[in-house]
Symmetry: C2
Subunit: 302 residues, 2 copies
């Protein structure tokens, strides 16, 4: 179904699209219409008041030394196994680098891997998720990203929510990512960059989404790409924050925080586990693009 | 002439190649056979003793606020002119980005542009050059590099000397680059990265150089590329230093210091003027590749 027909259908159903994107010829900057923090802070909250306020204001939060060296070494050996397996053997939920065919991402690790399933259910992470989203939560998406040394490619700026909304039918901004660093993040190995405060605005992108483009888009982004003027405006307002730190640190960032990373020519690889927690009150609908939903290893519909 | 025939010819002439590269099937790490600093430090030297020692040990030196905002604004408007002209009009000494066809480098700026000619002859720069190289000097190469915002591509690791030696016939390590920052260098906009101490070793690279490949190589490097193991060894020994700082700072780095930069997806462009000073006692010979010399806008033979 084309996006306009779909918009008409949704309007008929009373399901108005709060965050239209990829439907107009010009980009637009819309206000966020959802809360960022869905709970009142109290002494029992799993984050300090300062941490909580920082997250709400900036759209991200770094927690250093969240995991121990012992945890990390277990996951690293798991990762090595995954990397070795999937370099040899194609699998639907494994994305390779466009040029080198090195493993770039493995999806649905919380489903397919016992150790990473335990990680996603980690009591302190779940407590933070339930606190931030003010409800019970579930894993919307999980993946491991490998950014190899020497040839790690960039990830261009994007809001995850833009894609999850348009392509997966996530109705509201009530989800966040937890990125767990399995390797040290230096200035020089293409660390995560975020634009503080960008989560308060929704950048409506131009261009229609072709059918079944997701396989390609996970390697190289072509749709749902924010325009340069909007990015410049956001970065002028909030600056660009480069997240460096030791392995074992975690970064929590709102589903609409603009983020990306540069390439990595250094010998130091970067590996991260990404867990996306979504509120059980924000379950996926029909994709707002009017297209058929992406596979479950990318967007869980439980 | 093929490289082996050329090697024989050079041996006959008594011109032994101190730094063979692109002649063997395996990479090799050779010791530097030349001085780094060619003068004795004294109170009259144009660098302090600490600066001088730092340069000799690490192979680079940053001098903050070397140029004033007034100098910078003049050069910036000159740059804007150059960028506007060459985006429209192809020229031999102008290199475009491989994909976007944005201007990536303009060569021979000290020859073709009055303002940049004055810059190259700046008395304090010339005094530093004569001090570091222990003789009179001349400009071996000059260029402006533009790294646009959003789409700036990486420059992979390389030693300039490896190329200047093999492709231009520079006999000894008695040259250095001065990079003048016309824009602020942040962590996030693909700043220069150097490996401290790497100038004391020569990485002999594998692979022969095809004829006339230089046009392509200035856009994307394929020959004279150091191998991953050597890079890992160098970076384990010296680390990787990311050079950030304000516009107006300059970086001096030895011709054999391993350097490179990551991509730049941020909105902040990076522009630098590079001036390469060579000792008048280190004038170019026949290229050690046995091939014909590259054009003068890349390697001056005065």
């Amino acid at each position: 179904m084309n996006p306009i027909a779909n918009e008409e259908k949704m309007v008929k159903q009373g399901a108005k699209d709060k965050y239209p994107s990829r439907v107009k010829d010009k980009p637009a900057v819309l206000k966020r219409k959802d809360a960022v923090l869905y709970s009142e802070w109290s002494e029992q909250s799993p984050l300090s008041r300062e941490q909580s306020d920082f997250y709400e204001k900036n759209g991200f939060l770094v927690l250093d030394s969240f995991f121990s060296e012992k945890d990390l070494s277990e996951w690293r050996s798991e990762l090595k196994k995954l990397n070795d397996v999937y370099r040899e053997e194609e699998a639907e939920h494994v994305i390779l680098e466009p040029e080198s065919r090195e493993v770039r991402s493995v999806f649905a690790v919380h489903d397919n891997n016992e150790r990473l399933k335990q990680l996603a259910a980690h009591p302190r992470l779940v407590a933070i998720a339930n606190y931030l989203l003010g409800s019970d939560t579930y894993i919307h998406q999980s993946r491991i990203n490998f950014k190899p040394g020497f040839t790690g490619k960039e990830f261009y700026w994007h809001s995850d929510f833009e894609t999850w909304h348009v392509e997966d039918g996530m109705p509201s901004m009530r989800a966040f990512s937890c990125s767990i660093s399995l390797t040290d993040n230096f200035q020089h190995n293409g660390p995560l960059m975020v634009i503080p405060g960008s989560h308060t605005k929704f950048i409506s992108c131009v261009g229609r989404t072709p059918d079944n483009h997701f396989k390609q888009s996970l390697r190289r982004q072509e749709y749902g790409v924010p325009d340069p003027d909007s990015l410049e405006m956001l970065s002028k307002e909030g600056g660009i924050h480069t997240i460096t730190g030791k392995a074992g640190s975690i970064v929590l960032f709102d589903c609409n925080t603009m983020h990306g990373s540069n390439s990595n020519i250094s010998p130091d690889p970067r590996s991260n586990v990404f867990l996306v927690y979504n509120s059980k009150e924000n379950k996926l609908q029909e994709p707002y693009s009017g297209q058929k939903p992406r596979p479950r290893y990318i967007a869980s519909r439980e």
